[in-house]
Assembly symmetry: C2
């Protein structure tokens, strides 16, 4: 299925003088589209509005209504807001995301070379100035891995270029706090942590060094389309598949579909 | 004058599924357009091709011919290449650039919080993932300055968000080397350094601490549209106007026009 383009009612036309296209001054969200509609649409729209505000942009009113009416067997809904236009695209979830949801990933770590985010940093906004994120992921693939986990310069885990980090330590499911680190607050990670209490797990937001992470009972990169992608290797060391992976995927409503 | 859009012959159409618009995966150049054509077009096209190669993109053949035929009294030519399209826009040089060319700027410094660029860094490419650059400049304006000079975490000068640093120390005109620092190689700075031998100046590429920079005889941010914008204050300390500013602007063919 190709990607139909749905222009948000009330927004302007696509133009080559859009600062979104000229300077990456725009924001986006990727939402998992399901048979019963866009999953976790509310939190995604809230984050889109927060990202937009950081760039001085406003999300048009028509966007929520347009998105709410969409369904798909296993789809990707992209919402984009730039100074000149706002639009949505719908496509299949990429094959590679479905495979990683089922089979996990080879994960490597590398530090960002950052001691402290500068005061103008947009790292807490999901902007369309996303080329470095995708370059980081391509670099990881060139190293023979599937994905990357960014570290602070003193070796603490932050996030992936396109996903949040979640790990299980005993009976506690953990993720990295967004506020002190400047990482993007993960909508799927938040939903996961708020849901697992029903399974008898505790939850915690805390920092973790890469050495301590290697000792975790399970490690996942968590994002809206892949759901949970379990790290089956970390920096080349194999890790046993966790029985929690299918449980947590099921809890979030991700159903294994043919790769 | 509004910005006409010139689609490069042989390139595709503007589309909302362009990875340039969705993820800032594209490259650009800003060229000063003069009555006799685009200034330093060759070096700009070379840098555009190098930036494009870093993202796996190719500059269409028609672009050089299209650009070479354009003229303007004091104009801005933008060349943009994305996976889906390539185009050029022409507009007036912004009023603020002309004013800063004539009157100089209030310059402040801040470190990038970087110890080392990560191996996937695109900092040496001029990509359209430019939102952080513009956010940095807006932050400087909120501090009551006109522009910003980025420093390493140990206090050495790098570049501005949209310009190169050049300074005069005795009879030597200096700039920061691109190779070891990961800064963008400046086309206007390169042209300036290769031209000043005719005025009896020597040239050097070297690192400089912000403390040493404060002792320089003159400091400029150098870029294609502003030409040279002299720092008339550095972190709040006033600096006398250098007699070299009009000389160097003249040498590069920038003529004072009414602000």
């Amino acid at each position: 299925m190709s990607a139909p383009i749905l222009v948000i009612p009330g927004s302007g036309e696509l133009t080559a003088t859009d600062r979104g296209l000229l300077y990456g001054e725009g924001v986006f969200e990727t939402v998992h589209l399901r048979p019963d509609g866009p999953w976790e649409l509310g939190p995604h729209l809230e984050r889109l509005a927060r990202s937009a505000a950081l760039l001085g942009l406003t999300v048009p009113h028509g966007l929520a209504d347009l998105a709410a009416g969409l369904t798909h067997e296993d789809g990707a809904l992209r919402l984009v807001v730039t100074p000149a236009t706002s639009f949505a695209t719908v496509s299949d979830v990429p094959q590679i995301s479905r495979i990683q949801r089922r089979d996990g990933i080879r994960l490597i770590t590398h530090d960002l070379g950052l001691t402290k985010r500068p005061p103008w940093s947009l790292s807490g906004a999901k902007t369309i100035s996303y080329a470095e994120n995708l370059a980081a992921k391509r670099w990881a693939e060139l190293q023979g891995a599937d994905d990357l986990l960014w570290l602070t310069s003193d070796g603490y885990a932050l996030e992936g270029p396109t996903a949040s980090l979640v790990w299980l330590s005993g009976d506690t499911l953990c993720t990295v706090p967004a506020e002190p680190t400047g990482i993007l607050p993960g909508t799927t990670a938040a939903k996961l942590l708020s849901s697992v209490v029903a399974l008898g797990l505790r939850t915690e937001e805390r920092m973790i060094s890469v050495d301590e992470l290697a000792e975790a009972d399970a490690i996942w990169l968590v994002s809206s389309l892949r759901g949970l992608a379990e790290a089956r290797t970390l920096n080349g060391s194999a890790r046993a598949a966790s029985p929690w992976t299918p449980r947590l995927l099921g809890l979030l409503g991700f159903i294994h579909r043919p790769g």
